[in-house]
């Protein structure tokens, strides 16, 4: 057990160190993609909370990334600091996510998917149609990148560190959340809401919380997305982004803490690796995702989970054998 733990910690340190050191001599493209991975991971973590842990299907996560991105774009291009935009985005997305949670109290599964899908469409149309605020289809360009402690992040590498640092902070917060009793309550919501309710778990409040927190993380991702691409228009926040994020969560392993990291890796990096196949790359990407799900319908971490539970049942089997041995000597 302790050996496994040290191994885990060691592995964690190696990965973190690699994420910090290796990209130092990446070109701009590589850094951009890695930054995108970090941003998408944050958004997917939010969805993983809502969907993976609390079991509430949402097809609106992309819209929250959009709300965050527009908040950042509008505020920073008017000279306000990004950190302020971050605060506004979190509050805004939290509040809207909370409201969006209300239908979830009445409807579930595909009906909930529909309601959130409708919200996603509505958000897209607002981004596109309300020119006075969002500059409509033309989008907002020349979004500045922030200064962190007086240190400019205009170059790709510093900005990558901004994204990576944000990812680290968000990960810590989410990790704390899901191992707290709240996390257990979210799982209860997913596994058996009726029983949860009878155990005093205020499923209403937890449902709304799951939506609100998940959405707020979408907003955080958005506030990073805007300065990353330095241009925001409605197209990227179409329903397809929500579907992509959903795919990341499921493919990574829904309800696993590290699922979104791997899912975002598959969704962001795999297509890039496959680009050498030219016109076939999206087809191959689709086939890869399908193949993966066929191999492990519970996602990449599902494979690991299978392995772990196999070891656990071996241990349990051993316990039984001991009991049986006792039984044979006592009669």
């Amino acid at each position: 057990m302790t050996a496994a733990k040290t191994l885990k910690i060691g592995l964690g340190i190696v990965v973190i160190a690699a994420l910090i050191i290796v990209p130092m001599n990446f070109n701009r493209y590589g850094l951009f993609i890695l930054s995108q991975w970090a941003v998408m991971t944050i958004a997917a973590m939010g969805l993983n909370l809502t969907l993976g842990y609390a079991g509430q299907v949402s097809l609106a996560q992309g819209a929250f990334v959009g709300i965050g991105a527009y908040t950042a774009a509008i505020m920073t291009s008017n000279g306000l600091p990004l950190i302020g935009a971050l605060g506004v985005a979190i509050v805004l997305c939290f509040a809207i996510g909370w409201i969006l949670g209300y239908p979830a109290l009445r409807v579930q599964h595909h009906y909930l998917a529909f309601v959130t899908l409708a919200f996603s469409t509505l958000a897209f149309l607002v981004f596109r149609n309300e020119d006075w605020l969002t500059k409509g289809i033309y989008g907002i360009s020349n979004i500045p990148r922030p200064e962190i402690f007086g240190y400019p992040t205009r170059r790709p590498l510093p900005f990558y560190y901004v994204c990576l640092g944000s990812l680290a902070l968000v990960s810590l917060a989410v990790w704390w959340l899901i191992r707290s009793p709240w996390g257990r309550a979210f799982i209860a919501l997913r596994e058996n809401p009726v029983r949860a309710l009878s155990l005093g778990i205020d499923t209403r409040r937890y449902t709304l919380m799951a939506f609100a927190i998940g959405s707020a993380l979408g907003g955080v991702a958005g506030t990073l997305y805007a300065p990353l691409t330095q241009y925001v228009d409605p197209v990227p926040f179409h329903l397809s982004l929500s579907l992509d994020l959903l795919m990341m969560v499921i493919v990574g392993g829904s309800g696993f803490f590290f699922g979104p990291f791997l899912g975002a890796m598959i969704a962001v990096l795999l297509p890039e690796w496959l680009r050498f196949t030219q016109g076939y790359y999206l087809m191959l990407y689709a086939i890869a995702v399908i193949g993966l799900l066929i191999y492990s319908p519970t996602g990449i971490l599902g494979i690991l989970d299978r392995f772990i539970s196999e070891r656990r049942t071996k241990a349990a089997s051993a316990q039984r054998a001991v009991a049986k041995a006792k039984l044979e000597v006592t009669p």
């Binding site: 196999e310 049942t313 071996k314 049986k324």
Partner: protein, 246 residues
């Protein structure tokens, strides 16, 4: 041995890597009611699943009427004359009660010509189902659902009935009635293998008793002998309860 309708030899198997059955062995004499008792988690339900082909066995053999039926599909087992009423809730919630019952005969395909008559007979045995025949099955109470399952299971006139804790959720009157139905079936030559935690009542109507523990047969004997075995009573029949219950 020759009068055993079902013979279970040295079953080894479980869930994933976990071994639950450790060489379970017993046989069911033809035309008898045989009751399996044992502590929770002993592997009783698992044995039934193994017999009915729902659990992959690592070792062992199941013989029905002298033929090896290990690992056969459910349809084959049903047509051979075995039926299985599992533990817990096993209905099709969105179909009506009548349609639920009718489905009990699908394994026979078109061979059954008297399906309407059989359904009527089943509804006679469980009158509450008749009054609710057009209702969605999910609206039935817990005990009514169990009755539905039993009625459905018997529709094919099986030769061997595997029935897992039929008494759960049934009122005492319904338990009596169900046991009477089982007795009647036995009197018509049907063999019954039953799991019961309501062990006293079950053993009283049984011919044989089997005690299962940790996936192994601890004892197999005449039902009254099992019932009166003091050690068994202490260990598995809640010895203390007898005094207060009287």
């Amino acid at each position: 041995m020759s009068d055993a309708i079902l013979d279970v030899q040295n079953l080894v198997g479980g869930y994933g890597k976990m071994t639950i059955l450790n060489g379970t062995t017993f046989s069911v004499p033809a035309g008898s009611i045989t009751t399996v008792i044992g502590p929770n988690g002993a592997g009783k339900s698992t044995v039934f699943k193994a017999i009915f082909g729902l659990l992959k066995l690592r070792e062992g053999k199941v013989t029905f009427k002298g033929k090896d039926v290990t690992g056969l599909g459910q349809r084959a087992l049903l047509t051979a004359g075995i039926c299985y009423v599992p533990q817990g809730r096993n209905i099709f919630p969105e179909l009506t009660v009548r349609h639920n019952i009718e489905l009990g005969a699908v394994a026979a395909g078109r061979d059954i010509t008297d399906l309407p008559a059989r359904i009527e007979a089943a509804l006679d045995k469980f009158p509450v189902l008749r009054t609710k025949a057009k209702q969605q099955a999910s609206t039935l109470s817990g005990g009514e659902q169990k009755q539905l399952e039993i009625a459905r299971g018997l529709l094919l006139n099986p030769q061997l009935v595997l029935i897992d804790e039929p008494s759960i959720g049934l009122s005492p009157l319904m338990v009596l009635q169900t046991f009477n139905i089982l007795k009647e079936l036995r009197d018509h030559g049907v063999s019954i293998l039953m799991i019961e935690q309501n062990a006293r009542s079950a053993l009283e109507i049984s011919d044989f008793g089997i005690v299962l523990e940790l996936g192994q047969t601890r004892l197999m004997d005449k039902a009254d002998r099992v019932l009166n075995d003091p050690r068994i009573g202490q260990l598995f029949l809640g010895g203390a309860m007898t005094e207060t219950a009287a």
